[in-house]
């Protein structure tokens, strides 16, 4: 298991063009990031393409990493997640909304999350428990499935204006919980 400092060092190496550092970062993080791609895209070929796009972006932007305020794993996960969401949305745009109905029950926490002791879970996971289940699910769906307000409104069968108010309130509540120590 690599530490945060190890990963930062690899990114710094990549910033100066060190390809060995790229390989080291890939070895240390690609399984996690590929898992994210598979989770978001639910399609192996697309997940491989997305992982490639994400690592190319990371390589090309490594010299700018130190200027952003992210911890290294957050940066890698965010780049990967955004890349996957973009692909997912492009796919949805191609297919229309045909696949909408089959996706519904997908965003609940996996069995792994339930197995992690509450004390070791990320704060956001605990804070999500303070939300009504459908609101926690809406946040997960937005983050992990890239759902738009319109899609969330359709899934939860509420008007578009309502969903935004509804989700903003949930996010505000989440923010209050997250900022408590």
């Amino acid at each position: 298991m690599r530490t945060t400092a190890d990963i930062e060092e690899m990114i710094a190496g990549m910033a100066s063009g060190d390809r060995d550092a790229f390989d080291a970062l890939y070895a240390a993080t690609s399984a996690k990031l590929f898992g994210v791609c598979l989770r978001v895209l639910n399609n192996r070929a697309e997940a491989e393409d997305a992982l490639q796009d994400a690592f190319v972006k990371v390589w090309r932007n490594a010299d700018r990493y130190s200027a952003n305020g992210f911890s290294p794993m957050t940066w890698l996960i965010t780049v990967t997640r955004n890349t996957c969401i973009d692909r997912l949305r492009a796919r949805k745009a191609r297919l229309g909304d045909m696949d909408e109905a089959v996706e519904v029950a997908d965003a609940a926490p996996g069995p792994e999350a339930l197995a992690i002791a509450a004390s070791d879970r990320a704060r956001i996971v605990n804070c999500m428990e303070g939300l009504a289940p459908e609101k926690a699910q809406a946040v997960r769906r937005a983050y992990l499935e890239g759902e738009t307000y319109q899609e969330l409104a359709d899934v939860f069968d509420v008007p578009l204006n309502t969903i935004r108010t509804w989700l903003r309130r949930s996010l505000l509540k989440l923010r209050e919980c997250l900022s408590h120590d």
Binding site: S30, K32, F34, G35, E48, R60, G69, F70, T78
Partner: protein, 253 residues
């Protein structure tokens, strides 16, 4: 539930931006807000950190071994495709290394290394720019900058090109026009500065806009945006209408 605390609308934009819930023009506006105000940037960063933890329960899956070489080829611009050696570990020693000299951008998006999850057309354009940027060799004499601005529904596509040290920025309106009775205005956005007008886009399909000398340097690391404005352009000197397209300015050296 009428006694809920009234959400701080602007602050909640950071969460919505991190979740990719904002429309492209809202996302672009929020990026400008972040560029000007560190509080919003920090708010976004805090959300991104917390939301990334939602992936904690996602089990790692080792990608297929052959993928690394393919990714290396894409990242380093080397021709690994010509000699597929899936298990190869060392990168080719003689490969050119020009790719690290490209993309001197310092715009917010590029600084963050992030492209927001926004609508398809704009993203397709951004992806296309990545590809172009990754495949151009170091053969051109003068650095040339390009940007392709695409509105969300792809009804407006404007390409711009600029050669370093030149006075004129060329535009090519591939498709689309201003709404009846309005004009399209081109803006240069760079870091913390207020958007700088590059002028109203003439109705012609192609043409040139003069870039004042003081602003030429800002094309490095900047973004271009197009807003819909009253006839003759924004009366205030800042964008007043909807920002319909935004794209990074990409330098090819």
């Amino acid at each position: 539930m009428t006694d809920d605390i009234d959400p701080d609308e602007e602050l909640m934009l950071a969460a919505e931006y991190a979740l990719g819930l904002l429309a492209p023009e809202e996302a672009a506006a929020f990026e400008q807000l972040m560029a000007r105000d560190a509080d919003f940037r920090e708010e976004y960063e805090a959300w991104a950190e917390n939301l990334a933890d939602l992936t904690d329960d996602i089990a790692p899956v080792t990608p297929p071994p052959a993928l690394l070489n393919q990714i290396r080829a894409a990242a380093f611009g080397t021709a690994a495709v010509a000699a597929p050696q899936p298990e190869e570990v060392e990168p080719p020693a003689t490969a050119p290394v020009f790719e690290t000299a490209t993309a001197q951008g310092r715009g917010l998006l590029q600084r963050l290394g992030l492209l927001p999850a926004v609508g398809g057309g704009l993203l397709a354009a951004l992806v296309a720019l990545w590809v172009i940027d990754a495949t151009i060799g170091p053969s051109l004499a003068l650095p040339t900058a390009t940007a392709t601005l695409v509105s969300e529904d792809e009804s407006l596509v404007v390409e711009i090109a600029y050669t370093d040290d030149g006075e004129w920025l060329e535009f090519n309106r591939r498709t689309g026009r201003a709404p009846e009775g309005q004009d399209l205005q081109l803006w240069l956005i760079n870091g913390d500065r207020a958007p700088i007008s590059l002028g109203v886009l003439p109705a012609a399909q192609t043409g040139q806009l003069r870039v004042p000398e003081d602003y030429r340097q800002l094309l490095h690391g900047g973004n271009c945006a197009i807003s819909v404005e009253p006839l003759g352009g924004s009366p205030t000197g800042a964008p007043t209408g909807e920002v319909v397209a935004i794209a990074p300015i990409v330098w090819e050296t």
